[in-house]
Amino acid sequence: MTQFLRVAWIVMRKDLTVEVRSREILYTTVFFAASCVLVFAFALVREGRPMEDAAAGILWIAIAFAGTLALGRTFERERQTETLRALMLAPSDRPAIYVGKLLGILLLLGVVELVLVPMVALLFNAPFGASLGWLIALLAGGTLGFVSVGTLFAAMLVRARSRDVLLPVLLYPITIPIIIAGVRGTVALLQAVPDEPMARFWAALLVFFDVVFVTLALWTFEPLMTE
């Protein structure tokens, strides 16, 4: 287990070092997500009054789109240099490589969400601060579920010619329950009186999805990555 976590840590640290140096994925995803929120704000906010529950939907749509972009770019980098093969050659459990990539993308999306949440709160008058703990729980659960499936698919598609098209086509139908749970949980928090029991229900559902998706990904990563 120590060896597994050590390898995951090494891979994550390498991904973050490369990203800190290039800032390619971070800038792209932040600008894309911010533009998305801004466009929706112009469409859905009239005279300072946003459409009901729009903030929750916009927040999660922006996370999903930005996440897809980050997933694609992370593995495109490995494809260009064929370094994914070198990672697969390491004398360690191959799922540890998956966990390392997963953690790197999670951290990256965490930074994107740090920008997105205040932006959505500001543009859509969304009182996220009232139940910040539950919002963080929903975002953590939803992001983990989305990225756990996305990392597996992005790694699997790294050699496919139409990978840019196939990734969203495969990813969105499977992660729709996660996004819906995230949206419904966030809507519950945005009521005049935050409905915390309802948010707790959706957060618990997200934990369930996370356990299922992470387990399935760990189980299938090695056979899927062996050509």
Partner: protein
């Protein structure tokens, strides 16, 4: 954590990609302390064979035995005894030479990371450029660095796909000397190459692949060039 062995046996190995058969019942044995050349025209199946030997690709039929074990039986432990230098060099251009080597040294679980990395940088003749980004390196410099990357964990079986690409004469000769040193150290070295000038003086045995079939496997000799040309000519006919 690694598996040790003194020979690699390829037994009746075939690999299909859809309808195309890339390897067709290939049999080959490589022993510790020899350099085996894998020659053949483009598309003959050399890279496919190296990918299977490195466990990155599974065969459609047949098997590879590393001593007495197979890839399926030994998994991660076996990969600790394999080193691969592919046609792509498996280096991160955004990292420096030192950072690349440190990353792979840690990934392979080698002890004393800084000593291993310093020694590898010295052998790659890149000590002065150790802290430069790999994106600024020439192909030859990358090639030397990639070779040392493949050797960081001192693998028993070293698989090299066109290792002389981009190397100048001095670096080419240094590589030949390095490979001879590895052979004398008891490693198994399998080299896929088109460079017959270098191959003639280096290889102990050659295997020529043609259309996925092993055409011949015998001791390297001065007539290698002639035989290779015959094989390619027959393949094109």
């Amino acid at each position: 954590m690694s598996v040790d062995f003194d020979c690699v046996t390829v037994d009746n190995l075939s690999r299909n990609f859809g309808r195309r058969r890339a390897l067709n019942r290939v049999n080959l044995t490589c022993r510790a302390g020899e350099i085996v050349g894998l020659l053949g025209p483009n598309g003959a199946g050399k890279s496919t064979l190296l990918a299977i030997l490195s466990t990155l690709l599974t065969p459609s039929s047949g098997e590879v035995r590393y001593g007495s074990v197979t890839a399926i039986a030994s998994g991660a432990a076996l990969r600790g005894s394999l080193g691969l230098l592919g046609h792509d060099l498996y280096l991160y251009p955004e990292l420096t030479a030192r950072e690349n080597l440190e990353f792979f040294t840690r990934l392979y679980g080698c002890p004393d990371v800084s000593a291993v990395v310093d020694a590898a940088l010295g052998r790659a003749m890149l000590r002065e450029r150790a802290d430069d980004l790999v994106s600024g390196f020439s192909r030859g410099m990358r090639q030397r660095l990639a070779l040392e990357r493949a050797l960081l964990h001192q693998p028993r079986l070293l698989l090299l796909d066109e290792p002389f690409t981009g190397l100048d004469d001095a670096s080419g000769q240094a590589l030949v000397a390095r490979l001879r040193g590895l052979r004398d150290d008891g490693r198994i070295v399998l080299v896929a190459t088109h460079d017959l000038d270098l191959a003639e003086g280096l290889l102990d045995r050659v295997a020529i692949l043609r259309d996925g079939r092993l055409w011949m496997a015998e001791s390297s000799s001065a007539s290698l060039r002639e035989r290779y040309r015959d094989a390619v000519a027959v393949a094109r006919a």
